[in-house]
């Protein structure tokens, strides 16, 4: 029964959601501070290949994960300097990061072409729990980073809505002038959370490489997951808990084309099935932007606007 294709698909949807949760959480922290980082796709790719190269040469997947995450923070640092310190156009800066990151990742990935990671991040086993019908494969047969990503999302929710620094973070995204009047540095808060966001995105990219992909397929390694993550933040209304469910939902649309192909269900051509995740994201975005729902979503009010103190 646990070999049933739909149980396996659901289990894989939860697994693939890991990258979405981590990347979207990274974007969420960044955006909550008022910085819009569209460079997620470029960061994912560069951290993915970095983690591959490190894991391949050192033989340690954990070292790969750490270096991949740090590379994510480093690239986000470029965005932070441009948008927070130099007040550049954040939209263009993010796009520049995507192009730079894609080129950099493909450059670094040259020696990795045709290789595979020998040891992958393995799912944990909880003994008899993992064999419970339906629930076992979906809940009790995931890898440690998948569990960690959900724990991080729950902690992020507590941090955002139940702690003093979380309050300051939200205030920085909504009303930076007030935060500044409190004697806190808006620039420093924005820099810190942009870097932290990059770290999470980097972890997501590294996990994608070391647990899912195993081989370097250039830009197809991430295949637009970074953009889906950005849409997911809107979908979740900038709330971490909703983001978990959204990620699993979008994870399902990413997984479904493969399942249908494996089952040889071909009434829809497979190339068209590949559109599903992007189409689903597109529809969700449009549906959410009806004027009646938009105000309830809770986008940070100063998102993407550089903070300039009124000097009197």
């Amino acid at each position: 029964m646990n070999g049933n294709i739909w149980v396996l698909t659901s289990a894989d949807s939860v697994a693939i959601a890991t990258t979405l949760i981590l990347a979207a959480l990274g974007a969420l922290f960044t955006e909550r501070a008022g910085v819009l980082n569209l460079g997620i796709e470029g960061i994912l790719l560069t951290s993915a290949i970095s983690s591959f190269l490190v894991a391949d040469s050192s033989g340690s997947i954990w070292l790969g994960l750490i270096v991949g995450s740090l590379v994510g923070a480093l690239l986000a640092g470029i965005h932070a300097v441009l948008s927070v310190v130099l007040r550049a156009n954040q939209i263009v800066a993010g796009l520049a990061l995507v192009i730079f990151g894609t080129g950099l990742a493909n450059f670094l990935g040259k020696p990795a072409e045709g290789k595979t990671v020998t040891t992958l991040i393995k799912p944990l086993s909880f003994g008899p729990l993992s064999d419970i019908p339906f629930v076992g494969p979906i809940v009790f047969r995931q890898d440690p980073i998948t569990y960690a990503s959900i724990v991080i999302a729950v902690l992020a929710s507590l941090y955002l809505f139940r702690s003093r620094p979380g309050l300051e973070l939200r205030a920085t995204g909504d009303d930076p002038a007030t935060v500044d009047a409190q004697g806190l540095s808006v620039a420093s808060i924005r820099l810190r959370y942009t870097l932290f966001g990059g770290l999470l995105v980097g972890l997501g990219g590294s996990w994608l490489m070391l647990a899912q992909s195993a081989a370097w397929h250039q830009a197809a390694t991430t295949n637009g997951v970074g953009w889906i993550a950005l849409a997911l933040v809107v979908f979740a209304g900038w709330r971490p808990i909703r983001l978990i469910f959204g990620a699993i939902l979008f994870g399902f649309t990413l997984q479904l084309p493969f399942t249908l192909q494996a089952e040889q269900i071909t009434f829809i051509p497979s190339a068209l099935m590949q559109m599903l995740p992007y189409l689903a994201t597109l529809i969700a975005l449009i549906a959410l932007s009806r004027p009646s729902t938009r105000s309830k979503l809770g986008a940070p009010k100063s998102l993407g606007i550089p903070f300039v103190r009124d000097e009197r």
Binding site: L38, A88, I91, A93, L95, F100, G103, F107, V308
Partner: protein, 365 residues
Amino acid sequence: MRSPIRIVFEQRNETAKHLSVLVPLLSVVAALVAGALFLLATGYSPIETYSNMLSDGFTSSRGMTDTLGLSTVLICTGISAAFAFQMNLYNIGGEGQLYLGMIGGAWAGLALGDQLPTFVMIPVVLLVGSLAGASWILLPAFVRSRLGTSEIVTTLLLTYIAASLVKHFVYTPGSFFVTKNSAFPQGRLVPDSASLSGIGDTSLYPTFFLVILIALALFWVVKKTEYGYRIQVISDSPRAAHYAGINANRTTMSVMLISGALSGLGGAVLIVGPFGRLDPGIILLGYGYAGIVIAALARNNFSAIIVSGILFAGLRSGGDKLQISTDTPIHIGVMLQGAILLFALGGEAFRRYHIHAVRTERATQ
């Protein structure tokens, strides 16, 4: 907490003319220097890499015509991006609109090519490609102007959908676009009536001059016409536009559709020119994304885009040949593209602000 010295950004009242030229130039130089350091660190020779790129991209006669040929499509995607960007509409799906332009152009060429003469077919292919490109932005433009849905993510998601569409049309057995009974799936060449030949056996096609003309025409439209004035007012102050009775929704729609059509034109240019067929290889080339960089570096100025488009074409075409001439990965070209834009964005701060350090005591009261 606070450091004794503070950096102050003082808005320049009037932007110095020389800085508008100097900042983009210096960002190109800075990116090349950073790229050289990166090449050194990864064990490649920057001198060899750059001199090969320079000769393959610019100084050799073959390199120059290749560059101008490639710049044709890059100027299309550049003016496409700039046309939307100037109204703060971020159409970043030029890549997908370009694919549609290829699909539309190839369809027109294959369906009508045997019945019509060349002087009719070329405009028809270019027009159908442009319309197909515009159709791909119709939904984002509609929901942006009616519901306020951000066009950034919607146009981008449609690029991935367009890529699947290209694959579907090429890899589906018996598809209209492919050669019948071929050993491996391959796009069908459009008939001779729908294709141009390169000038003097080079990869430079007459479409280059058409695209230059369009860029110059857009420069004039934006600077001199009432339509261009409307775009300027809306982007400077949506409220002023509202009080002046300007219909912002309609202008948003038209600007985005024109932007999509220009990227579509880029795809159709590939059909009448170097490709001649629907080719899934386009998905890896990123010509649409390059347009974003080209527009941003030219600060959405349509005549400057001609220059930055040719510059980037040289960078790409020189970079693409690296694999043959040296062992440096060709992706250095794309990487430098991104790096130039990152430096240009940083440099913007120095153009817009007079930046200087002051002691804190004087700065706060």
